[in-house]
């Protein structure tokens, strides 16, 4: 509605198509093409092969898929519980102190991931908490980095919930636990689903803290992809990246569907 003439619109749209194509679609397209390519000598890749995916299915790459999924699900669940707990507690408390604590829960999102990893490495390589070289330290690193996003999502949801519903429930004699379970949590459920989805996606792509703390037996997908491309095996790296993107998007879609079905079941 800003540009009215047919030719003006056509010009603006071709420009937009070019920019979106070059900046956002071309990167995804070349990685997809490379993951199926036998070789890439000329302008475009040549020779179709599923070899890179077959390699990714077993051995070290298969272990990386497992490590990433496990880390992502566990860290996201813990972050969801901790974030929702903190958001609910601070909302019940209210006031200036609660606002300041709220900012504190956001701080991990502002600190560079490499420094979070370095801190965990320094802190847990000495007594009293010796965790260096364990799987737990990777999960902890992911939890710390995504906790702020879970907290932020649930807080944003709670801010939109009118206290009236909860007050009515209390007046009708609902205990705090019953009120939380049957009134507050269902009202913020869409935000809980969204928080889990975002946390999981962030965990799947986490690299900075993971490279600082991962033990040899727990290599996540991003670390494995870096290992492959660093050795020059960019085609296998591309295949593993497509698997990472595919798993992340599938899970996000699944969570979105579950959230919608759940909301429908409640309302209808």
């Amino acid at each position: 509605m800003l540009v009215w003439s047919r030719s003006g619109k056509a010009m603006v749209w071709s420009f937009a198509a070019l920019v979106i194509g070059v900046v956002f679609l071309a990167p995804l397209a070349v990685i997809l093409a490379a993951s199926f390519a036998r070789q890439w000598n000329g302008v475009l890749p040549s020779g179709f092969t599923l070899e890179h995916y077959a390699e990714a299915g077993g051995g070290a790459s298969g272990a990386a898929v497992f490590a990433s999924l496990t880390t992502g699900v566990v860290a996201s669940l813990v972050a969801l519980i901790s974030g929702a707990w903190a958001a609910l507690a601070l909302r019940a408390q209210g006031g200036g102190a609660a606002r300041m604590l709220g900012v504190l829960f956001f701080v991990p999102s502002a600190v560079p991931s490499v420094s979070v990893g370095l801190g965990l490495l320094v802190a847990f390589s000495q007594k009293p908490l010796l965790l260096n070289g364990t799987t737990a330290i990777v999960v902890i690193a992911h939890f710390v980095l995504i906790s702020a996003f879970s907290f932020g999502n649930v807080s944003a949801g709670l801010a939109r919930v009118s206290p009236d519903f909860e007050e009515v429930a209390s007046c009708l004699g609902a205990t705090p636990a019953y009120r939380l379970r049957r009134v507050t949590l269902p009202l913020v459920a869409p935000y809980l689903f969204a928080a889990f989805g975002l946390s999981f996606a962030l965990s799947m792509g986490e690299l900075g803290a993971t490279v600082m703390v991962y033990p040899p037996g727990w290599v996540t997908l991003p670390v494995a992809i870096f290992g492959l491309t660093d050795r020059g095996d960019i085609f296998s790296g591309a295949a593993l990246t497509i698997i990472l993107v595919g798993v992340t998007l599938l899970l996000l879609l699944g969570i979105e569907r579950t959230s919608a079905i759940w909301a429908q079941a409640r309302n209808g």
Partner: protein
């Protein structure tokens, strides 16, 4: 005044405040305690003796100064680029909508959920010395060498960061644009205002809070970016996060790594404070 009114329930309020303890303890043990130990390790050397000269030497080293300069240059350029690209796309999607514009906006939005190093890997195939662009140029002009080399310089990092961080600007801008009164734009247009004047006088003022919030978030994320720089792996492009990784993992020089980490954390927290203030002041 509210204290006086609440005093009969004072005990209950105090107990209620304890509910925040479990997640707070988790944050303290897993995040604040490690941060404190980084500060401690920054001034103590490997033999656990205070060694301030070593800390000063790290701060004065060419590697650190270069990394600080690179980080600032890359972050500022990438943020400016993300703002320009995000604003352009948001203007087109919101005010010159094409069929499927909403779908495209959602597609770009999913980039927020994807790992950042994806952009670098893609750039290797697109603009690397054996990539699509160089392959096409060599073939078209019968060159003997690949003519395009920007990927292995700061430009490669900047352009990759613009790709992954412009969606962070696009999202708040689209939200802000959806609040702009369409009637006002149509009236201005009917009265003969050129599109550029409408953008400057009606749309941009309305989008300023969202642009500042999105831009400062970009600045924070680009200062902290690690994956893109690691994957490009150019010798001349070392930023603060990459230098911390090099010192700790490659050289096992933990004191130097912790000194640089303190600087990086301070820089990030400063930008985070700026972002909070900007977001609150402007209500974005």
């Amino acid at each position: 005044m509210s204290d006086a009114a609440a005093s009969p329930r004072g005990v209950k309020v105090d107990l209620g405040a304890l509910w925040v303890a479990p997640p707070l303890i988790a944050l303290a043990v897993l995040f604040l305690y490690p941060l404190a130990l980084i500060a401690h390790a920054a001034v103590y050397d490997a033999t656990d003796v205070v060694n301030l000269p070593a800390a000063w030497a790290t701060l004065g080293s060419r590697a650190f100064v270069n990394a600080l300069f690179n980080t600032a240059e890359i972050a500022l350029a990438a943020t400016a680029g993300s703002l320009a690209l995000g604003l352009t796309l948001a203007l087109i999607i919101a005010f010159v909508p094409f069929p499927g514009a909403t779908f495209v906006a959602r597609l770009i939005d999913t980039f927020i959920a994807l790992p950042t190093f994806l952009a670098t890997l893609a750039f290797t195939f697109l603009y690397g010395s054996a990539g699509v662009l160089n392959g096409a140029l060599v073939q078209a002009f019968h060159l003997s060498d690949a003519p395009v080399h920007f990927l292995y310089s700061a430009w490669g990092v900047i352009l990759a960061e613009v790709t992954v961080y412009s969606p962070f600007v696009l999202r708040p801008l689209l939200a802000a644009f959806s609040q702009v009164d369409r009637g006002q734009i149509e009236a201005a247009s009917l009265l003969g205002a050129r599109p550029w004047r409408i953008v400057r006088q009606i749309i941009l003022p309305a989008a300023l809070p969202a642009a500042i919030a999105g831009g400062s978030l970009c600045l924070l994320l680009t200062v902290n970016e690690f994956g893109i720089v690691l994957f490009i792996g150019a010798k001349g492009v070392i930023t603060l996060p990459l230098l911390i990784y090099d010192k700790a993992i490659q050289e096992s020089d933990y004191q130097a790594a912790c000194v640089i980490a303190m600087v990086n954390v301070a820089l990030s927290l400063g930008l985070f404070g700026l972002y909070r203030v900007a977001a609150r002041r402007l209500g974005a």
